[in-house]
């Protein structure tokens, strides 16, 4: 399946791009992360500490074990600091 992946804040800066489209068979966000980490060092660096990351699935906050079935958009970013 085809999924849009978005990166924000320092995750975007470490990976070096704001979004990309991937073709994946990953069943969960965690499996998608493993696929990305295996690609290149910059992904390995960005995803080194998952406790420092948050994930949104189709624009709702989610956990790393969230399923990807039917999902169109996954976003990775640090804890939010608005307000």
């Amino acid at each position: 399946m085809t999924i849009d992946i978005l990166y924000f804040a320092w995750v975007r800066e470490r990976i070096g791009l704001p979004r990309e489209t991937v073709e994946t068979q990953a069943a969960t966000v965690a499996q998608l992360v493993e696929e990305l980490r295996a690609r290149e060092d910059r992904y390995e660096v960005a995803f080194a500490d998952l406790s420092a990351l948050r994930v949104a699935v189709d624009q709702d906050l989610a956990e790393f074990d969230a399923p990807l079935d039917g999902v169109r958009e996954v976003a990775f970013f640090p804890p939010m600091t608005g307000g």
């Binding site: 978005l6 804040a9 709702d60 906050l61 939010m80 600091t81 608005g82």
Partner: protein, 147 residues
């Protein structure tokens, strides 16, 4: 009900007056919160706020809906800027209207606590020494536990 995400500055005074004028007769209590760019250490050249278009509006509406489930409210307003701003500029505001002041105060605090940690905004501070993403504070995550 209004949620606005914008790069332009907003006029707190004009927003507050229009918010009060729009309330139905029974809403005797109006609370506003305004967040201003702080230059705590001195030397802040700019504050940059990144957000997640689409999810931001969605998250703010969810937070507002949650507040409406918990308190008896009239209107609710959330305005949040993104992009670059200087020290002393206003970053964001919320306003709540209710019959009773406890509802207006608590709902405004709730909106702020959730907005801080659950709406996809990220702050970056630019100084003479470079630029750093602002770290989330444990106190902000802890603040959610009271609700």
């Amino acid at each position: 009900m209004a949620v606005r995400v914008q790069s332009d500055p907003f006029d707190l005074g004009a927003e507050a007056n229009a918010f009060v004028a729009a309330q139905a007769g029974g809403m005797g209590a109006i609370v506003t919160f305004t967040g201003v760019v702080r230059d705590v250490a001195g030397g802040l050249q700019a504050m940059e706020i990144e957000h997640y278009p689409g999810m931001t509006e969605r998250a703010l509406h969810k937070i507002e809906d949650e507040a409406r489930d918990r308190w008896q409210l009239g209107d609710v307003l959330i305005v949040h800027r993104h992009g670059r701003m200087q020290a002393d500029e206003m970053i964001m505001m919320v306003a709540t209207a209710a019959r009773h002041r406890a509802d207006a105060f608590e709902a405004a605090q709730f909106l702020m606590d959730y907005l801080k940690s659950r709406a996809p905004f990220w702050k970056k501070e630019h100084t003479g020494q470079g630029a750093d993403w602002v770290a989330a504070r444990d106190e902000d995550e802890d603040a959610l536990k009271r609700w």
